[in-house]
Symmetry: C2
DNA sequence: CGCCGCATTGACGTTCGTCAAGTCTAGTGG
DNA sequence: CCACTAGACTTGACGAACGTCAATGCGGCG
């Protein structure tokens, strides 16, 4: 049942590379347990005590933050091999919610153990730093998107990003199934669900993608890239 | 000239707390040199090789990312005691520009040395993790702002954030001098400089703040907070 | 088979961006 | 010391993009 990290087919995504025998053994100790998360339920909630990071083994998550006055903002969508929970480190409690968008399984990695093993395995230490830095850079990209792109550009960038990550996991580079609603896409991209829907329809009319509910087929990836870079006359 | 970190008046901001004698000595070795950065010049640029993190000793910075097609987005404003350069870790090169908005001095901390000393001083290790996590959480807040707030709410949140950080550094909680232009504020907040200016004027008309170019006086902090939380009728 | 949540589409309104004119201020050089 | 200039800021008029509200369509699940 329980697969060691050293044998996991996702190891290139969540683990450091180039470890020796002994380091591999140590790193395998990171994951204490696995946890199943049913679709629609939460892995953690804002305010909950932070103890562990989670590596996604299967499934798909969204993370979102909420204000006192009830607005909420999806801050990311996470898929297999990605690490979730980094927000909790700073104050020992989570500051966002993580909700499974399909049935999922995560590897639980207690953070004190991560720190302990990091001190011995340099590659792990550096890997942790890289994972956090990558998240910071990703968020810079989202800020750029939210701060300076228009609806079509945002949605095009979103689709390209999704399909690129799926491709890295062995899925098609032209077909994908959205695990999230239009409203969740809209929240992530800073637009209303109606605008998301209209923009999908526009892309479909322009023969750039094919949309059947949540089934998306990318017909012209280059056109999408041109849209992101605003090389399209409006 | 060179003040040890253990004696620096900013140590509570950039250093871990509760170190013993020996650990203090080790941590003092983090900062190899200081570097002066003149107003308008860069600390680092997108694409430059990453070697070090920087702790701001004096002065004020902005960081910004740029797309191929020339759009750019201010991703943050940093002041004394804050750490800059975390984006560079993941790919060994910086992915944004850091520009001084006033004459500044930074402490240069080579990252390999940070990792080395982190392995020995647990408090430093955890501190590094917290600094990175804090940046991730901060960016979640910016995403919320960009994705779901309107112009007045964004600017109110921005002012409250700035003044709160200045207060933590011993400055007034009601007066501040903006180190950045309207255009830079606009870029950060995802709006045009004219909208920034108009919104300042509106706040001024409503007696919430007093604006004289870059000199801002907060007359009614509670009103600003209500604006952020949308408890104002439009 | 029917219901419910999600998605689509249309009509209309609001907010913010665009363009343009004009003002203020700090810094420079006579 | 003052006039001049360049860059930053303010303000107004107008329009485009997107949000809002409402009606309708579709598909999956019990």
């Amino acid at each position: 049942m329980k697969v060691a990290c050293s044998n996991c087919n996702l190891r290139e995504l969540c683990m450091p590379m180039g470890l020796n025998e002994q380091e591999l053994i140590r790193v395998d100790e990171l994951v204490t347990t696995r946890r199943q998360v049913k679709r629609g339920t939460s892995l953690f909630h804002n305010g909950e005590k932070f103890t562990s990071l989670f590596a996604i083994r299967t499934g798909f998550f969204k993370t979102s933050v909420t204000t006192e006055d009830g607005r909420d903002q999806v801050t990311g969508f996470q898929m297999a091999g990605e690490i979730i929970g980094l927000d909790g480190i700073v104050n020992d409690q989570h500051t966002c919610d993580a909700i499974a968008l399909e049935d999922a399984e995560v590897c639980v990695m207690p953070f004190d153990r991560i720190e302990e093993i990091s001190r011995e395995v340099n590659a792990l230490q550096h890997h942790v730093h890289k994972v956090m830095s990558r998240e910071i850079v990703r968020e810079h990209g989202v800020m750029l998107l939210l701060g300076s792109m228009r609806a079509e550009e945002r949605l095009a960038a979103f689709l390209l990003n999704l399909v690129q990550r799926l491709q890295a996991r062995g899925f098609s580079r032209s077909e994908l199934i959205l695990r999230m609603t239009r409203e969740e896409i809209g929240s992530y991209l800073g637009m209303k669900l109606e605008t998301v829907s209209r923009t999908f329809s526009k892309f479909s009319d322009d023969r750039v993608i094919d949309v059947k509910q949540r089934h998306i087929c990318i017909l012209d990836a280059d056109a999408l890239k041109r849209i992101v870079n605003s090389q399209i006359c409006h």
